[in-house]
Symmetry: C2
């Protein structure tokens, strides 16, 4: 004789249909809509997913910047310089010493590499070749232009994106809340880890595997020892 | 004239040699040795690296377990059963109703699938084929045998490993401390994120990219605004 408690299932659903019903239920209770965005510091946003496009507040570089150590000049002043016809420039008036990364002085639009400079006197340098406008200059917005989109919406932020956000003047970013996944271990035979289970008892390990996977994928896992009393309670945790 | 502050480097090191010197220094101050192991709950150990091999405390299954719904029996009692010569078994004496996962009653070593059972009366079932010993039984240690190694040392624990640990009766695991990486942003031109930098100022974003990469790889990143006073301090943070 079969045991009293044996359940006989006389009908079942194709899994596609069961899944459709389940998803419709989740939709109905609002479990599929992402919650309202959260604002997090850009430098803690790795792995989070943007809730909106992010636009640069400032350019990077945000000033015309020397790309070489040397002398900043107005390129036009160097035109025609050659071995046969070297050009001399007054230091502090026509040529300004700069290191890589320094802002260009006003009216300068090029940098002569230090290696190409002959020092005539403390007041004067000599060059034997011209520089063209914007030579050895990282101009404003070379990496990022203010107002440009740095990352689109629904983009999972990588460490390198954080560099882009910060360089673009962004310190906070709106991200979707991490998806919550509620896991309900069921079965009269399962017992919590710890201690020695009796014959017939199974250590409940599956929910921990699933929870760790959910966290690895960027979600938030909530284990529930019991099914919650009300359907909507499921998504409010 | 070059700027007063310009540094001219008249010698340099091949990078291999510089790296060797740097690694020797880290070795000397103990920065390369992993710290003492930490004990963490198995279910929070995903991504951590084992400090020692982990051996199963209990087998999984830890009892002989029905792998089918049906009747547990001593297989020998069924030998010779056929369509021509059906065998009847007394329920509760020779055949015991079990569900999948139930422990086998003493002296039983096989399970007859419920589908193969003809119910003669509440006291008797009839079968027309024998079962062989251990048929439809998940025997002790089928997945994990007690004392068996579940994971070796220096193994990065995946979510699935956590299932193995818990099923093997392990609730805590010794792991290496997460590698600490200290990042020292340097340069007079760098400024903290936030606000509008002046020309010549660079927003310090590289250390945040590196920190996020270190965390992604399982390490712990420590940003330092200033080089620490003493060399060994570097690894104590």
């Amino acid at each position: 004789m079969p045991k009293e408690k044996r359940d006989i299932y006389l009908s079942d659903l194709p899994w596609e249909e069961a899944l459709e019903k389940y998803m419709a239920f989740l939709q109905e209770i609002g479990a599929l809509a992402p919650g309202p965005p959260e604002t997090v510091p850009a430098q803690e946003a790795a792995g989070r997913v943007t809730a909106a496009p992010v636009y640069a507040r400032i350019s990077s570089p945000h000033y015309n910047s020397a790309a070489m150590d040397g002398f900043a000049v107005k390129a036009a002043l160097t035109f025609g310089a050659s071995e046969a016809s070297p050009r001399r420039l007054a230091v502090g008036k026509e040529a300004f010493a700069v290191d890589t990364g320094d802002p260009l002085p006003p009216d300068c639009d090029a940098v002569i590499m230090i290696e190409d400079v002959h020092f005539v006197s403390p007041e004067e340098i000599e060059i034997t070749a011209p520089v063209y406008p914007w030579e050895h200059v990282r101009s404003i917005g070379e990496d990022i232009v203010a107002t440009e989109m740095i990352v689109p919406a629904n983009h999972r932020l990588r460490p390198i994106d954080i560099g882009g956000l910060l360089a673009g003047g962004i310190t906070e970013v709106a991200v979707h809340p991490r998806p919550r996944v509620v896991i309900l271990p069921t079965g009269a035979e399962i017992v919590e880890p710890g201690g020695i289970p009796a014959p017939g008892e199974i250590i409940e390990s599956n929910s921990r595997v699933l929870a760790a996977l959910v966290e690895e994928w960027g979600g938030r896992a909530v284990r529930r020892p019991e099914p919650p009393p009300a359907g909507t309670e499921l998504v409010k945790t």
